[in-house]
Symmetry: C2
Subunit: 173 residues, 2 copies
């Protein structure tokens, strides 16, 4: 694990981004992007806006080749990593010292939803548990305060707990 | 891109999983898992239940080292790849021939939410657009039918459009 005291560099990012967003109404609006191509039975080649590429796949038992994590695993890792990064930013912002962040995320899924085997079973996750372990010198109350700030400002947690308007278009050629 | 006609192997997976889920109430309940450790300013080492590992990071402009895609990028890729895989399964299930699946996902985020700069701005995505491109020999109506079935049964789409109960625990040491 990685040791930090309130991070100077992140504090600088926070300060400059925040003051810029207050001054400039147009700044701070970001469009994130991912491009996906089916390249196997369940293998999907993914490229994201920052230029990184990776493979998504399903396990052999699910008809895949296990060439990479599955979509739901990536979704849970997105949630857990977003929490971890939000801990860093808000620790720096609130001046809370954090020595280590370790997070385990679990999600329950009933495959009856995906396969359409039973009416009323949602295809997604019935419940998610996020276990956060922090190490550091501050009081438990300070870390509770930090965790509350993180949960209020974590983008991917908001995707899970809130509803997102998704517009889908279809082109056939 | 990858060519498939209605996939025999996936059809077999669907048939055997579906009949098993009807017979056995306990079968089909899956727990997905991700474990995350902060290993840098915004670098997070991720390992998922299927055993795959990968790095999540933020770009340099955001205080990171650009060591991998960011959490929101992974979340969008999870959505797009889940759509692509659900197209494969439901094409096999419905007997619709699909030659290629290409998907672009975009999400709008206002950083004021994450940084807590303005009240009422949600930290997550304000809107998401999923552009699906299919290639294949069937009628446009058949593909519209397929797309409707996919949107009804796609696990990660359900995470985005619905609300997920997330329980968070905190341990400090």
């Amino acid at each position: 694990m990685w040791t930090m005291s309130p991070n100077t560099s992140l504090a600088t990012v926070i300060e400059s981004a925040s003051s810029r967003m207050v001054r400039d109404e147009k700044w701070g609006h970001v469009v994130y992007r991912a491009t996906l191509d089916l390249t196997g039975a369940t293998e999907v080649a993914s490229e994201v806006g920052s230029g990184h590429s990776f493979i998504v796949d399903e396990p052999v038992s699910f008809g895949g080749a296990d060439g990479g994590p599955g979509p739901v695993e990536y979704a849970l890792a997105a949630l857990g990593s977003c929490q971890a990064i939000t801990y860093q930013f808000w620790a720096a912002h609130l001046g809370v010292a954090v020595d280590a962040v370790h997070i385990v995320v679990e999600g329950d899924l009933d495959l009856r939803g995906f396969f359409g085997v039973r009416e009323g079973v949602r295809p997604g996750l019935g419940a998610v548990r996020v276990h956060v372990e922090l190490r550091g010198p501050e009081s438990p109350e300070r870390y509770e305060e930090l965790a509350a700030a993180v949960d209020e400002h974590c983008p991917v947690l908001d995707i899970f707990t809130g509803t997102v308007a998704v517009e889908r278009t279809l082109t056939v050629s």
